[in-house]
Amino acid sequence: MAYDPFKSASSARTLSAPPSASDYLKDATFRAFAYFCALSILLLVGYIVFELGSQAMPAIKTHGLGFVTGTTWDTNEEVFGVLPEIWGTLYSSLLALLIGGGLGVGIAIFLTQGFVHAKIEVTFRTIIELLAAIPSVVYGLWGIYVLIPLLRPGAEWLHEKLGWFPLFGTELSGPGLAPAALVLAIMILPTVAAISADAFRRIPYKVKEAAYGMGATKWEVILKVMLPTASSGILAGMVLGFGRALGETMALAMLIGNVNNISVSLFAPANTLASLLASTFPEAGQMEIQALMYAALVLLVITFIVNVAGLAVQQYTMRKFEGKK
C-alpha cells in the first residue's frame, strides 16, 4: 500500500483513496514494457549495422574509399565501384521527389482546402491510398508494358529537337531514368499526399478564419498562410517519400536499365544501389557478396544522412514558423 498520511487526516466522509499496490505494479510493468520496445528498436538497428559492417569489412579493407568513387563493377577483374549507382539512386529519387512531391502537395491542397465535397474527398483519399497498396513488381510491369512505350515518342521528339540540352542528351532505348523516376514518383505520391493532407487538416480552423478575415483571396490564403503553417508536416512527408524512393528496389530493377553509367540525360539507362543489390546477389561469388554488403552499407549511410538532414530542415521550419524551441 502506498504511503498515505491524508486518509486519516481528511474528513471521514471522503471517498478518495490512494492507488492500490496492483495499480503501482501495472504502472511499473507498463513502463518496463515501453522501455523494452524502444530499446529493442535501437538494438535491432545497431545489430543490422554491425552485421552489415562485419560482412562488408573485407571489401572495405580491400577497396577502401575507392569503392565509393569507382565507376566500374567488374566481377572477373574484381574491380568494384558504386559511384554510378550512388548517382543513379540520388538522381532518380530526386526526380521522383520533384514530381511526386509536387503532385502530392497539390493533391493534399485540393483535398483539404474546400475544393471538393467531403464525399468526393473520401473517394479520392481511398484511391490514393490504393496506389500505396500496389506491389512494386506490378509497377515495374506497368512501367515496361505501358509507360515506356508511352514515353518513347515524346522522348524521341525531345531528343531530336532539343538534343543539345543535357537533360535530353540521349535516346530512350527502352528502360532508363525517365520511366524509373516517373514510377518512383507515383510510388511516393501517396505518402507525400497523405502526410501533407494531415498537416493541412491539423491547422486549426481559426487560422483559416484569420486569413480570410484579413481579406485574402483563396489563393493567398493557401499560398501565404496554409502552406507555411503546414510546411513542417509537408517536409516530414517529403523526407519519408524520399527515403522510400532511395530504397525502392523491384520496380527500379525492372525499369532503370541496370547500366553503370553516369549521365544527366533523363533517357539514359542507369542503375541504383538497391537495384544493383537485387540483380547481382543471386549469382554473386564471395568477393562480390562482400562488395555488395559494402554497397548496402553505403545505401544505409545515404538514407541516414537524408533523414537527418530532413529532420534538421524540419526543425528549422518549426522554429521559424511555429516558434517551437
Binding site: 486549426p204 481559426k206 487560422v207 483559416k208 478564419e209 484569420a210 486569413a211 480570410y212 478575415g213 484579413m214 481579406g215 485574402a216 483571396t217 493567398e220 501565404k224 498562410v225 507555411p228 503553417t229 510546411s231 522554429r319 521559424k320 514558423f321 511555429e322 516558434g323 517551437k324
Partner: protein, 275 residues
C-alpha cells in the same frame, strides 16, 4: 416576459442613430441550413463610435457580427436574408466580392489566431495583401505600438508570432487587423482570453480607435460594454418554439440600456436576473 407568444412576434423598436451610419445592418433572417439563428435585427453601426453587442449565449450576436464582413460565407449552410449597407452599398449584393468587403471591414476574433510566421510578417500581412507602397516598417511599428504590444516584442520581431503568450498573441492579432487601418473593425469578444491588464489596454485602444474608425464589439463582459461602448444593442433569444432564434431586443445609448432599459428582458439581463 411570461407571455411567450408575445415574444414570438416581438420586434425591437427602431433605434434612431444620432450620427452618420457607416454600416447599416438590417437582418431579416439568418439561417444555418434549416436552423433560423437570427431574425429581425436592425443594428446601425455609427461612425466614430463603439457599438456594443450584449446578450446571453446563443442569441446570435456573433453571427450578426460575422455577417457584417461576410465571414459567415465560409460556412456552406449559411444563408443571409436582409441587407447590410456599407457606405450605402449592400455588401451582400451579387456584384460584391466578400474578399473586398473584408479588406475594408476588419475583424478581431475571440481566440488569438496569429499566423505561423514572424511577428513582423504577421503585422505586415495585410499591408502586403493590399499592395501598400509606403514605409512598411513604420506602419508595422505603429500598429504594434497602438495595440499596446510594441514594448513586449520590439527586440524579437523575427520570432514566430506563435512564440508569444496568449494575451500577447491577441494583441498581435489586433495589431495585424489595424495595420491596414480598416474603416470598420469588428471585434468578437476580443478580451475573453486576456488578463485584466491586457483587457484594460485593449479597451483603451478601442476608445482611441474610434476617433478614426468605427468599432463593433461583441462582449460577454457587461462592465466592458459600459466602459467602451457608446451605443449598446441587447439581443435575446426565443426558445418558445423549440428553436433558438436570436433577435434584437433593444438598442440605445449605453447609459440608457444599462440604467433605464425599456424592455423587461433587457432589465433582467443587465441586472443579472435571468429568467
Amino acid at each position: 416576459m411570461n407571455n411567450q407568444s408575445e415574444l414570438d412576434t416581438f420586434i425591437a423598436d427602431k433605434y434612431e442613430p444620432q450620427g452618420p451610419v457607416v454600416l447599416d445592418c438590417q437582418v431579416n433572417n439568418i439561417y444555418y441550413g434549416d436552423f433560423r439563428a437570427v431574425r429581425d435585427t436592425n443594428i446601425p453601426v455609427e461612425k466614430n463610435k463603439v457599438t456594443g453587442f450584449i446578450g446571453p449565449s446563443g442569441c446570435g450576436k456573433s453571427t450578426v457580427l460575422r455577417s457584417m464582413n461576410r465571414m459567415n460565407d465560409l460556412i456552406d449552410s449559411f444563408r443571409f436574408d436582409g441587407q447590410i449597407h456599407y457606405h450605402n452599398q449592400d455588401i451582400y449584393s451579387k456584384k460584391v466580392d466578400a474578399v473586398v468587403v473584408r479588406r475594408y471591414i476588419g475583424m478581431v476574433f475571440q481566440l488569438p489566431n496569429p499566423f505561423s510566421m514572424s511577428i513582423y510578417d504577421n503585422v505586415a500581412f495585410g499591408l502586403r495583401l493590399n499592395r501598400f507602397k509606403g514605409d512598411e516598417e513604420e506602419m508595422v511599428v505603429r500598429a504594434l505600438e497602438r495595440a499596446a504590444i510594441w514594448n513586449d516584442v520590439k527586440d524579437k520581431l523575427n520570432n514566430s508570432g506563435l512564440s508569444l503568450s496568449g494575451g500577447q498573441q491577441q494583441r498581435l492579432c489586433i495589431a495585424r487587423a489595424i495595420a491596414t487601418e480598416p474603416d470598420v473593425l469588428l471585434m468578437d469578444e476580443p478580451c475573453s482570453a486576456l488578463d485584466p491588464i491586457a483587457t484594460r489596454q485593449i479597451e483603451e485602444l478601442m476608445i482611441e480607435l474610434k476617433q478614426h474608425y468605427s468599432v463593433a464589439l461583441v462582449t460577454h463582459n457587461m462592465q466592458q460594454a459600459t466602459r467602451v461602448a457608446d451605443v449598446t444593442a441587447f439581443m435575446g433569444v426565443d426558445i418558445s418554439k423549440g428553436g433558438r432564434t436570436g433577435h434584437l431586443v433593444e438598442m440605445g445609448d449605453t447609459q440608457q440600456i444599462f440604467e433605464d432599459p425599456r424592455q423587461k428582458l433587457t432589465q433582467a439581463y443587465v441586472r443579472g436576473e435571468f429568467s
